[in-house]
Symmetry: C2
Subunit: 204 residues, 2 copies
Amino acid sequence: MRPRNIEKEESIRAVALKIIQEEGLENLSMQKLAKAANVSPRTIYIKYENKEDLLIKLFIDEVLGAYEAAVLENFDENMEFSAGVKRLWQNSFRYFRHNRQAFTLMQYGKSSPLLNKAFRERDIQEGQFFAPIHRFLARHASAGTIQHFPFQVHRALLFAPLFDLINEYIEHSDRPAQPITDELLLDCCQTVISGMLIKTNKHQ
Amino acid sequence: MRPRNIEKEESIRAVALKIIQEEGLENLSMQKLAKAANVSPRTIYIKYENKEDLLIKLFIDEVLGAYEAAVLENFDENMEFSAGVKRLWQNSFRYFRHNRQAFTLMQYGKSSPLLNKAFRERDIQEGQFFAPIHRFLARHASAGTIQHFPFQVHRALLFAPLFDLINEYIEHSDRPAQPITDELLLDCCQTVISGMLIKTNKHQ
DNA sequence: AATTAGTAAATGAACGTTTACTTACTAAAA
DNA sequence: TTTTAGTAAGTAAACGTTCATTTACTAATT
């Protein structure tokens, strides 16, 4: 039996991410991908059922899975609130700054119906994907450190600004001035945290 | 001279938005649109140069322009900070709750290279589009009510969570339980505001 | 050690369909 | 009669996908 060439499989994935970043998801075609990855179109169909399958696997494995691993590095659900959130911000920024392709596809996940479907198909709830963060927030809400909110609301308040800022960073990365610095990001993180904290020592 | 039929033009736009919301931007084709709008494909090309032109005009006129008008209703750049931000949140939520098609296309604007291009092509900077908000924030930063940040950073901190929450609202709108209520939104808005405010009467 | 059978990997060329867009024409008003 | 709006029926090119075949290797048999 002929052994499969792992390089080809990796090339397909890498080139797909590259095309999506450079030309957009809507300009990724199987034939263009095959040519750019130096592979026959048919080869892609040996490794993936169809285009949808390829995109979903790319999204889950290369983007969601890889991001989950990166964001939880040195994070512990028992951390103090402020330290924990800062760690998550740091990890996210560090990951996406060096993996812009992943960030681009992640953004598509918010608009494309296909990628939205990916969550449900694989039965991956955000609660499962980011379970430690989920528990971290639930614990601090119970302890009275922060307000009680549904998880999605906590996520919106704590991390939506971060993604906007990363997007801004990436858009400015090939321009002369970069407004988004590590220091600024830390300031922003502190701002977000201080809004969330319940101030027990304050009148009213 | 034969007068143009305004109904057809409106039908084209309305049906395009509808298809984008129901099937996604990537599934909008000129032929499908023509058939659904009960119009010949050529008719679309009388009114729009090409598909790109159609999408950009849809995006600018029906989404950005309409949103700008809605968000600034009863907003005055001289308002007190907290009241101003709350008004902007309220207006945004009210607008998108009743114009989900606009929200869907707006989300595509964050990933699609084509729609990103739309801003630059028409020379519409966000500063122009939302000039009163820009001045509102600059004034409060100068007055020391809030921290000094670039506009994009203010926007990320104040409004990125809102868009996430609206997205959550829309995704749950045809399910039994709706976690996002007006009251919750006001709570979130207050949280965001209190993070931004500089507390002059506080130790450290 | 040499030969052969079997198998999955990989391919180039093509399939039928859909794409964005046009051509050649008619309808309707100035 | 001139001008424009609108259409039905196209176009070539690109699309996702498949066919028939070859390649590269393993394992069994000589």
